[in-house]
């Protein structure tokens, strides 16, 4: 078997023992890698109904089929656990060296069970596993942790996935970070924190062989060169932050906790402004010829020197959505999140909820008492100093930061219960996860895609905003096509998340990103790597299967139709300004679109999966457990 070792490494932190599970070629053909394989391993290894912070919730790491080869943007791995944010599947992706080291160490996947009594750094040294004491690493930031491990092991080719101080203190939306990249969103960092797992380090020294290196090299060379052209210029030059101005023009830039979709201070937080004033250098994940990471630095004021990679989603959440028009503040906030290992989107949106709660008089100045501000401070929209102080309190879990570190859902439920308020009306989350930076009230297909997302509302797992923005459909109304569009876009994304390949390469195969443009090359890449004989028509089921196993996981955890919903604001408050003014997604519209979606998926009206569908996709064991 090429492309795989055939082996999954199991590690038990409680007993400090390991074992190897061998998987068949047929199993790999179903689950391929990345998000799909990680979610499948989660299905196989979790105790259903367990608490996300219990030892029964495993950490499932699944490598990519192309990791360690020259296939552009193929150096990625999937990470899945039950999410403490949503109680459903938490599946993330991260790029760079970690996946490549793991591949060379000879493991297709790693499942980490149990919980350690003391802080531990698991070191996978090719075939050997060592449980290293991590006490000395506590309190170190993400990058510092990696460097300290490399120094201790005296090998700069050791790659680590780590948690920072936020994960140690179990900020609910803490991330896992490797090589400066994050496996973000659903709170993996706090799951690792609950296991006292500070880092997983890997040294892999073996070479990687593929079935047909000549073909693989030829295809990879051409894609690498194509990736220097117009198909990726958006990502290479300005990065995704170029969305700031574009979305503002459409009235879709979340502003002041998603109250509006246009921001008056947009010029000084744009990708163009960032490029001119703060950009230091563009860097890439390992194995990526595009390089989208815009390393940016604060060059003046109290936070001079703070530097991190800036992309659109983290940027909107920490600028327009806080009413902040100062790019330096945004960089500082994102730097706090990245260096301490927490999700900059969830952090920014939780702060914006707190700002609105303050402005509506429910939070008072004294709620924000801390060591730095013994009298507290006024957390108003646009107040940079207060925003930074709040982010630091979240990171340190100091004062009100402890509650805000639980995310928007828990924070608003707690405050409403304590104070009899109705902050849930502006708590921006669905299934407990804060949404992406696209105002879904002006994007009806995307509002459906967000509501039905298996890990919550997410721009990465569905590109349902695409038909809305491209004008393929009327973005302000609903019709019977939306269900099929939501299915098509989420399953298209799932193919990339499973291989995994970064979606930024999608136009570099033939110039066209649709299935007809991308799948033929992807088939050749898989076959040249593995020696399989996949056909064009085998690709779509890879995405559908990946999406279905996540949905099946959720059903087993108690998902019901009413969980596919949107934040209250998106369903009740029309925007008042800009090109999307007057619009929101009513309950009637959403329920209608959900009907069209469940039908397109071949599911029941209640959103459950028929046994026949699961058997057709090659998972009879899943059909047995949750099929109807």
């Amino acid at each position: 078997m090429f492309g795989y070792s055939g082996k999954v490494l199991h590690i038990d932190l409680t007993e400090r023992k390991t074992w190897v599970e061998e998987k068949t070629e047929d199993w790999y053909k179903l689950w391929i890698g990345g998000v799909s394989m990680a979610s499948r391993l989660c299905w196989e290894n979790i105790k259903p109904g367990c608490d996300a912070y219990s030892p029964e919730n495993p950490v499932c790491i699944a490598n990519g089929v192309f990791a360690g080869t020259p296939v552009p943007v193929g150096g990625k791995y999937g990470l899945a656990s039950k999410s403490p944010m949503t109680g459903f599947i938490g599946d993330s992706l991260s790029g760079s060296w970690f996946s490549i080291a793991l591949k060379r160490a000879g493991w297709d996947a790693v499942v980490i069970h149990g919980a350690s009594e003391s802080w531990v750094n698991v070191f996978i040294d090719d075939q050997r596993v060592e449980f290293r004491d991590a006490t000395k690493l506590l309190g170190l930031g993400t990058f510092e942790t990696e460097e300290a491990i490399r120094e201790a092991l005296a090998d700069d080719q050791v790659r680590s996935a780590t948690i920072g101080p936020a994960g140690e203190k179990m900020v609910r939306y803490a991330n896992v970070t490797n090589d400066g990249r994050q496996a973000g969103r659903t709170g993996h960092g706090s799951v690792w924190g609950s296991k006292k797992l500070k880092a997983v380090s890997v040294r892999g020294t073996h070479g990687i062989q593929v079935a047909d290196p000549k073909t693989l090299n030829e295809l990879s060379f051409n894609i690498t060169k194509e990736a220097q052209g117009p198909h990726t210029s958006k990502y290479r030059i300005l990065g995704t932050s170029t969305n700031v101005l574009n979305l503002n023009k459409l009235g879709l830039l979340p502003t002041r906790n998603y109250q509006e979709g246009v921001f008056e201070g947009v010029e000084t937080i744009s990708g163009e402004f960032l490029h001119e004033h703060n950009k230091v250098k563009t860097i890439a994940c390992a194995q990526c010829p595009i390089a989208c990471e815009q390393m940016s630095m604060v060059k003046a004021g109290p936070w001079t020197g703070a530097m991190t990679g800036i992309e659109y989603e983290c940027l909107f959440a920490n600028s327009s959505n806080l009413g902040i028009d100062d790019i330096n503040t945004a960089i500082k906030l994102i730097h706090i999140a990245d260096s301490s290992g927490m999700d900059a989107m969830s952090m920014g949106i939780t702060i914006s909820w707190a700002m609105e709660t303050f402005e509506k008089g429910i939070f008072k100045k004294e709620d924000f008492k801390c060591e730095k501000f013994p009298e507290g401070f006024e957390l108003t929209f646009g107040n940079s100093e207060a925003a930074v102080a709040t982010a630091e309190m979240i990171r340190d879990r100091e004062g009100i930061g402890k509650l805000l570190g639980e995310g928007t859902r828990i924070a608003s439920l707690t405050i409403d219960e304590q104070r009899g308020s109705e902050t849930y009306k502006w708590a921006m989350h669905s299934k407990g996860l804060e949404p992406a930076g696209y105002e879904a009230r002006g994007l009806k297909t995307f509002s459906l895609g967000s509501a039905v997302g298996t890990r919550g509302p997410c721009h990465n797992r569905t590109a349902a905003y695409d038909p809305d923005i491209q004008g393929e459909v009327d973005r302000f109304s609903v019709d019977e096509k939306r269900g099929m569009l939501a299915k098509d876009t989420e399953e298209y994304a799932a193919v990339y998340d499973t291989l995994p390949l970064c979606k930024f390469i999608r136009r570099c195969f033939t110039g066209k990103a649709d299935r007809a443009g991308a799948w033929p090359t992807i088939v050749k890449l898989i076959n040249a790597t593995t020696g399989w004989d996949l056909k064009y028509e085998d690709i779509d089921p890879i995405g559908e299967r990946a999406h279905t196993i996540k949905k099946a996981f959720n059903i087993r955890e108690g998902w019901k139709r009413s969980d596919d919903t949107l934040p209250y604001r998106w369903m009740h408050d029309p925007m008042t300004k800009g090109p999307s003014a007057g619009h929101f997604t009513s309950e009637e519209e959403l329920e209608y679109m959900k009907d069209t979606y469940y039908e397109a998926k071949g599911w029941t009206k209640e959103g459950l999966i028929p046994k026949s569908k699961l058997i057709e996709l090659g998972m009879p064991d899943v059909a047995e457990q949750i099929g109807v």
Partner: protein, 174 residues
């Protein structure tokens, strides 16, 4: 002590352009071994913080210290190209050359028990494969003197706008 020279070509990396993708390492190891393994690459990407990244390979030093250090006389330097050649019969993997190199450009292959160093792909028709593949054109096969010449010209060009308005432009007749 290292003595680089301006006369031999070597693989140069521009750290401003290098994005740290390591594609050079995959291609190098494949070209030399048929496998993708950055441990077997003769060019190595180095990253010391978030933005300080470059790739390094043999600098073809004058009076190469690795050659001097070898107790077995297994290393020799091609007088025309500066490339270091390794005599597989003599090399016993003692790693003195590795220690002698200030640029970390030599490694020992634990399987073949031989020293490995960049040979600029002298057996490849289209030259160094890393240069061919580098997506950002950060890698070049060049000499330090050629780079210095280029730097001088670039420096002058960069002050063009300051200099030109002060020079009265003459009408050209040719």
């Amino acid at each position: 002590m290292t003595t680089t020279t301006s006369k031999f070509k070597n693989i140069e990396c521009d750290p401003d352009l290098c994005i740290g993708c390591q594609i050079c390492e995959y291609v190098c190891s494949y070209t030399k071994t048929g496998e993708y393994n950055t441990y077997r690459s003769r060019i190595r990407t180095v990253r010391v913080d978030e933005v300080l990244i470059t790739a390094m390979a043999c600098r073809t030093c004058d009076n190469a210290p690795c050659v001097t250090a070898c107790p077995q006389d297994a290393l020799s330097q091609d007088p025309a190209t500066g490339i270091i050649h390794i005599n597989a019969q003599k090399c016993d993997a003692c790693a003195w050359c590795v220690e002698a190199c200030d640029f970390g450009a030599i490694s020992i292959n634990p399987e073949s028990r031989l020293a490995e160093i960049c040979d600029q792909c002298e057996d490849q028709e289209d030259g160094p494969q890393c240069v061919l593949w580098c997506p950002k054109e950060a890698l070049k096969l060049t000499t330090p003197e050629q780079e210095a010449q280029k730097a001088r010209r670039e420096a002058l060009k960069s002050i063009k706008n300051e200099v030109l308005p002060k020079i009265p432009l003459k009408e050209t007749t040719c």
